[in-house]
């Protein structure tokens, strides 16, 4: 079966998940993002690439950083951006997701950036567009349920490549609530595809998916053992809002065992970098001293995220419905 994200020429048509994307495409996105980082230093922080295109930010779930960076990325590419806030939208009046999409298509949408609490919602939209012959319209997944958050995974890869140059000899640890994290799934997919030889997943049994080893990672239930000699520490947010039932005792106790402190970070390589997708829970998964410390690259991640999203949107908009 053809990957639904690629057109028949093997070019990126939608970005729904990192799973199944060949290494060449991931590398092309990172390579394309590099020159976009420089736009922020100009007098005029705008490129004319997406002039006249309409991009709809469809956020059915809260987000500040992701929605804002997508909006800035689209605006720096000269696109017109429309932000739809779900609480004031017709979804609240009972309109179905695909009816909303059809209505926005009737307003000449060129691209949808979708965040949804249901895993697979962006895929549903992409398939709907394809079966109705509207393959000039592109979909970017900005996070769906527990499934995927591909632009976050890509900006994390960009950050790692920026500081570590190469993926070939790295040891990368992903720490915390992997079970509820779409970010972790995208990170693992990207790290595997880009050839990172040692990917570690560190967390309590209750917050790791069963059979997580099958994704090609090594599992550690002891954070001190897991962090030893790693090059990159990727922290995850403890996702209280996605939890049902008693998966952990209290945030304070979680911090005591799993929180990243300077003392635990000292076990990693001296030049290890610390990443976090945000929003951070200080004193829960990460200590303030580490979050604000010299090894943290959490704010550069946000800045790189703009360039990576510019790269994705311009690569997608450059494909003119190649399935025809």
């Amino acid at each position: 079966m053809r990957n639904p994200q690629l057109n028949k020429h093997g070019e990126l048509q939608h970005l729904l998940t990192i799973d199944g994307l060949p290494r060449e495409i991931l590398t092309a996105i990172l390579d394309t993002a590099a020159p976009f980082t420089e736009v922020a230093e100009r007098e005029v922080k705008k490129l004319p690439l997406l002039r006249g295109k309409s991009i709809f930010n469809l956020f059915f779930e809260n987000s500040t950083r992701t929605r804002t960076t997508f909006e800035i990325a689209a605006k720096r590419l000269s696109a017109d951006v429309v932000n739809l806030n779900v609480s004031t939208s017709s979804t609240a009046k009972g309109e179905s997701l695909l009816d909303t999409v059809d209505n926005l298509c009737a307003m000449q949408a060129d691209m949808f950036v979708v965040r949804h609490a249901a895993s697979g919602a962006p895929f549903l939209i992409a398939r709907h567009l394809e079966t109705t012959g509207r393959d000039h319209i592109h979909v970017v997944n900005a996070g769906d349920g527990r499934h995927a958050h591909p632009t976050q995974g890509l900006l994390d890869m960009y950050t790692i490549r920026h500081y570590k140059r190469d993926f070939a000899n790295l040891t990368v640890a992903i720490v915390g609530d992997v079970l509820h994290s779409r970010v972790a799934r995208s990170q693992i997919g990207a790290l595997t595809t880009l050839g990172v030889p040692d990917i570690r997943v560190i967390g309590p049994r209750t917050l790791l998916p069963t059979d997580v080893e099958k994704l090609g990672v090594r599992v550690f239930h002891d954070i001190r053992e897991g962090l030893r000699d790693v090059d990159v520490v990727m922290m995850l947010r403890l996702q209280n809002e996605r939890m049902n039932g008693a998966l952990l005792p209290t945030p304070q106790e979680f911090f005591k065992v799993w929180g990243l402190t300077a003392e635990k970070l000292a076990l990693a390589k001296p030049d290890a970098i610390v990443m976090h997708p945000g929003p951070m829970n200080r004193g829960v998964e990460i200590d303030s001293a580490v979050a604000d410390g010299a090894q943290a690259v959490i704010l550069p991640q946000v800045t790189f995220g703009i360039a990576v999203r510019m790269a994705v949107m311009s690569m997608l908009a450059g494909q003119q419905g190649g399935n025809k």
């Binding site: 390579d31 394309t32 590099a34 020159p35 420089e38 007098e43 490129l47 004319p48 311009s314 450059g318």
Partner: protein, 166 residues
């Protein structure tokens, strides 16, 4: 068609430009051939402003039909554009569309006092009202669209021009 000696053309271009440049003239080479040429000109003319490099991928007018050029390079303008005397450098002048894109991109960095264009070869076939102030060779007959004139650069910086059937 006569063989083109890129080194001799480069020397001729330097002599054309020399009476008109000042130490504060800024050079901006268009990736990739124009940048190779700009490096040579920058050195030969003894310019003190750091050399700029420009990739016009994000400003091309064929994005709508061809999409994004693969592997765009970094644009690097290390001098203050506002009020500057800028010479855009490219290896071959053809339709003029690359030059237009470069001028547009340059203006997003500020308002230069003056912009000129220097090229090694004008191959004819213009589609826009653009002309080079400095040009080492204008082909007597426009080159057919089926042919490409391509600049190459060896590791020592020596330039050669090659005629390729597209």
């Amino acid at each position: 068609m006569q063989t083109l000696d890129a080194e001799a053309l480069c020397q001729a271009l330097v002599e054309q430009m020399r009476p008109h440049v000042t130490p504060t003239t800024a050079l901006l080479g268009i990736h990739t051939g124009g940048l190779w040429l700009a490096r040579r000109l920058h050195q030969a003319l003894g310019l003190t402003q750091p050399l700029g490099a420009i990739d016009v991928s994000f400003y091309r007018d064929d994005f709508g039909s061809k999409g994004l050029h693969p592997q765009p390079q970094r644009t690097d303008v290390p001098f203050v554009v506002e009020g500057a005397d800028v010479i855009i450098v490219d290896d071959v002048l053809y339709t003029g569309r690359t030059t237009r894109a470069a001028i547009n991109e340059l203006f997003d960095y500020g308002r230069p006092a003056r912009v000129d264009l220097a090229v090694l070869v004008d191959r004819g076939g213009r589609e826009l009202p653009i002309a080079a102030r400095y040009c080492a060779l204008t082909l007597p007959e426009p080159l057919p669209a089926s042919q490409n004139l391509q600049l190459e650069c060896d590791p020592s910086g020596a330039l050669t021009l090659r005629l390729i059937d597209a």
